[in-house]
């Protein structure tokens, strides 16, 4: 027995109810099934990117480059989420990637504002000189 839609769902999805009743509403045959790359290859790429990001994060001295290595690590994790989402047939993984992208955007905005404030006070972008809270 199909669950009754809540009122917000009936408002939001009113427009495609006619789509659901028509015969042409079929999920398209998945042409991506032709691509037979095993899951381990996706995860290997994810791990390689993550380790490269971690290496850059540890060894680089420019604050902005360090921040970009953080973004690289986030992207490696996104790839792992996407690969598992595909191989488990669950769309939740892609939703997680969506939220990770949104949070990374917010974090980039705040982090870059902090970098600008640090640069204004110390005139340097070298993390070796930003090692205490006191100027």
């Amino acid at each position: 027995m199909k669950r009754q839609d809540t009122w917000i769902e009936s408002v939001l999805f009113y427009s495609d109810s006619w789509l659901l009743t028509s015969d042409s509403w079929q999920p398209a045959p998945d042409s991506w099934d032709l691509i037979m790359v095993p899951l381990s290859h996706y995860l290997a790429l994810s791990v390689i990117l993550f380790v490269l990001g971690a290496t850059g994060f540890i060894f680089r001295r420019n604050i902005i480059t360090v921040f970009m290595c953080i973004e690289l690590m986030l992207n490696a994790v996104n790839l792992a989420f996407m690969a598992f989402s595909r191989f488990l047939g669950n769309l939740d993984g892609q939703l997680f990637v969506f939220f990770v992208i949104v949070v990374a955007a917010a974090e980039a905005a705040v982090g870059l504002a902090v970098i600008i404030a640090v640069h204004r006070n110390r005139k340097s972008l070298n993390i070796e000189e930003v090692d205490s809270m006191k100027l």
């Binding site: 999805f13 999920p27 998945d30 991506w32 099934d33 032709l34 691509i35 790359v37 095993p38 899951l39 381990s40 290859h41 290997a44 790429l45 990117l49 380790v51 490269l52 971690a54 290496t55 850059g56 540890i58 060894f59 420019n62 902005i64 480059t65 921040f67 970009m68 973004e71 690289l72 992207n75 790839l79 996407m82 690969a83 595909r86 191989f87 488990l88 047939g89 669950n90 769309l91 892609q94 939703l95 969506f98 939220f99 992208i101 949104v102 949070v103 990374a104 955007a105 917010a106 980039a108 905005a109 705040v110 870059l112 504002a113 970098i115 600008i116 640069h119 204004r120 070298n126 070796e128």
Partner: protein, 163 residues
């Protein structure tokens, strides 16, 4: 068509390597944009067309543009050689390599290439993601909108010249 994945993967790894090894931050930023676009291509090969386009528009098109703006605003220029000990590099790099090797071995054993795990049918269209986003995940969606608002306010306050 599987060779497309390996081309994208090679491009992503080479660009990430370039990003980590470059001296100039602007070149690192441009290499990161290449990585993001290569990953968007991989998402496309995974059948996730919506997330691929979101990756290009939001990540490569907004976040990295913000990065490049800040690099040019602060006149980041070049990076000076480190005053840190060389011992950190000589000890750290092999350990990172060992970690990478261990992770690859674990992945290879855990998810064998010859197993029966095949990609399931997945509808990555905006309609499917929208259905999931506004039905099951409506609370995280609203919370992230508040998060973005707070982030914008915080960024404006932190980067102000004076109060």
């Amino acid at each position: 068509m599987t060779f497309l994945f390996y081309i994208m993967a090679a491009v992503a790894v080479l660009a990430a390597l370039n990003m980590v090894l470059q001296r100039t931050p602007v070149y690192s930023a441009l290499s990161l944009i290449v990585v993001l676009c290569a990953l968007a291509g991989v998402y496309l090969l995974l059948g996730a067309e919506f997330m691929a386009v979101i990756q290009v528009i939001v990540y490569a098109g907004a976040i990295m543009v913000l990065f490049v703006f800040v690099i040019m605003l602060l006149n980041a220029g070049h990076e000076t050689p480190s005053h840190r000990s060389i011992m950190a590099k000589w000890l750290g790099a092999p350990l990172i390599g060992a970690f990478l090797g261990v992770m690859l071995v674990v992945i290879w054993n855990q998810f064998p290439s010859t197993s029966a795990a095949s990609p399931k049918h997945l509808d990555g269209s905006p309609a499917a993601i929208g259905h999931l986003l506004f039905k099951s995940y409506v609370l995280p969606f609203e919370v992230t909108s508040i998060l973005i608002l707070v982030a914008v306010l915080g960024a404006v306050v932190l980067a102000k010249k004076e109060f």
